[in-house]
Symmetry: C2
Subunit: 446 residues, 2 copies
Amino acid sequence: MKKNVLIIGAGGVAHVAAHKAAMNNDVLGDICIASRTQSKCDEIIESIQRKGHLKDPSKKLYSRRIDALDIPATVELIRETNSEIVINLGQAFLNMSILEACLETGVAYIDTAIHEDPDKVCEDPPWYANYEWKRKDRCAEKGVTAILGAGFDPGVVNAYCALAVKRYFDKIETIDIIDVNAGSHGKYFATNFDPEINFREFVKVWTWIDRQWKEYPTHTVKRVYDLPVVGPSPIYLNGHDELHSLSQNIDAESIRFWMGFGDHYINVFTVLRTLGFLNHLPVKLADGQEVVPLKVVKALLPDPKTLAPNYTGKTCIGNFVKGIKDGKPRELLIYQVSDHKAAYEEVESQGISYTAGVPPVAAAMLIADGAWDTRTMVNVEELDPEPFIAILDRIGLPTEFKEIEPGSAESFDGTVRDLETEIAESTATVTISAANPMIAVAPKPR
Amino acid sequence: MKKNVLIIGAGGVAHVAAHKAAMNNDVLGDICIASRTQSKCDEIIESIQRKGHLKDPSKKLYSRRIDALDIPATVELIRETNSEIVINLGQAFLNMSILEACLETGVAYIDTAIHEDPDKVCEDPPWYANYEWKRKDRCAEKGVTAILGAGFDPGVVNAYCALAVKRYFDKIETIDIIDVNAGSHGKYFATNFDPEINFREFVKVWTWIDRQWKEYPTHTVKRVYDLPVVGPSPIYLNGHDELHSLSQNIDAESIRFWMGFGDHYINVFTVLRTLGFLNHLPVKLADGQEVVPLKVVKALLPDPKTLAPNYTGKTCIGNFVKGIKDGKPRELLIYQVSDHKAAYEEVESQGISYTAGVPPVAAAMLIADGAWDTRTMVNVEELDPEPFIAILDRIGLPTEFKEIEPGSAESFDGTVRDLETEIAESTATVTISAANPMIAVAPKPR
């Protein structure tokens, strides 16, 4: 039994996690929200109070200021707050320093994304091996529970893979994780979470095909798939954190990730990327000033938190799994649908933050009650998915299932052809031409 | 008779002007090219030498370093170089300090654009009254020749207006200045001159309609006109320097300016502007750094000088004049066609720099021989256009004329309707919607 939660971060995802933690503080104990800007933490606390979400009023809910790159300060904060579970929802650049503080204090660690080095993007797979997994032995030695990637994707989709293995398939052939936000925020252009982190995802597409890593240029492989509730959606092959662990832990020929983008998004993104605005490395201006273009993009785009009040529509994220059960082909879509407006009404947040912020709290509850208190480092698919999915059903992210007639019109064929064929057959609106060289990069299969 | 020319600036336009000055140094005398970066001046001199363009080898061609915001240093440079004519082709922020140095030394001043304050864009009309014209009396008192806006537009198009008045019309109704670059630089996106100055032009559209200033949002009024040589071209109502003086000096109901933009340009421009990248005022990044987005745009776009070697196609700039001659309606297009490749072959520059860089040298030649040595401040349309056009015919920018049957299919109807009608009838690809508020700004007629 572990208790008292330290949430690090005060963005949209932390906002949701703090609400959900407060709504379950009979299990989780005291809650401290800490970030570099303490006033942002206090705004979250005000929102929780406004909604009357503190279930057990005898438990504390308070804020602290922390620079989480400062390991001794984080150690001190963990001790001062008596926290036994740290939920890291800060920028992905902080992961290793927060994990280090957890190792030093022996408390449990949860995050929702792979560690990032500011100077690198889309690192060689499996990316987890460059940072997190190097600390696996130390977690085991010290009996420190570290649950990696426990958001929605990575996170819940990893549990869906484990569930497919445990209950629905004898043999899995392919898994296609599909993430579509069919909502509308009413802005000209905005990202649903930190633009700086968001755009770093789209530099390269690392994907697990035929048990090998293959690299494709972004937005070159497009499909349209008719998902439940949100309907026919344009989706693009994309790299994503979960592939870097699922490729190691799930026995399947191919595991791919697809993300939904509308034509307007692709157009704006293509302009920004082609001109170099998504560059994470500094450029020198005429007057000598050094500026990281991506940080200017972040400053100019709407703060993702501000999208919430007017966001409408739904999200659908799920795993399309193909394989064999009892000697027969099976196709199953395991998915979750969330509603932006409902999320705002419940916790004053938009749906993307909601889907990412609820799961780490479910994971914390499972650490608190012992079910997921692994005393070592794991990715979500290594754990029993059923108690996790059961809590999510109860606290806002119910899972649904759609059995699909194998090879029917409702099937999803995620087979990726060679790049020339994909480009030739592409119906993407993005111009693929010599004038747009960042798209026409040749793939480097590994 | 004035001689010895000081060219300030070392960009694409200065490059062309220096070539043309060298090719006419029997009239102009010694030539000094000065800018903040002396090596850029030396590159121009190397280009002139490579082309063998120094007509009279007994005259000097050399470079100096100058910060032209430093008036005493500029005074010193004028004296040291014995220059009697200063051609200011630096950024428009420098105009007033260079003019001041000319006033102090009594030498002639030529520029090609209105003075700009870095913190302001598209100033209230007539913009010249905010800066240049405040110095008019001092120029007259001191007998200083100052010819404002002597590039192509402003410049040659102003002379075309004066020519229309002098030779072709008894009464002018409307003048539509049309500027189309139908060339191709082969890059994804680039501006033809300094992006920082270029984009500042497109914040507001001030235009002279029915003898009043009216303001329209950029790119809301589109026409397609079949120009000589370049053919049917999409053009947009735009503000431009010359309107600020022509409105005062030319007796016409309406004087409008139209600029050609392709759909791709409009798309990229709209993305950048709508997201705030064309902002000339600083924004604060998450880490506190202050950055002017427009300066980042400048750093990321290709240097306009680098476009020249691969530029193909032609430009067409001209005045469509409607009025009365000998009691009958008349419509006349007075225009000039330049070729990017021919410009590169002649002076190692692209066509836009060529059209802007040749005219100030023609003006300098007219000051040198006395024809335009006004001993006061003037805009180009106040001068006799014929010797100017005659020199341009001879040194690379020949003028052509197209007599058009009034009211025929070849007429240009530049009538601008009210904004709602223009938006409703617009065929522009740019989306005009609530999600694109920077376009849907209401006009403020004055």
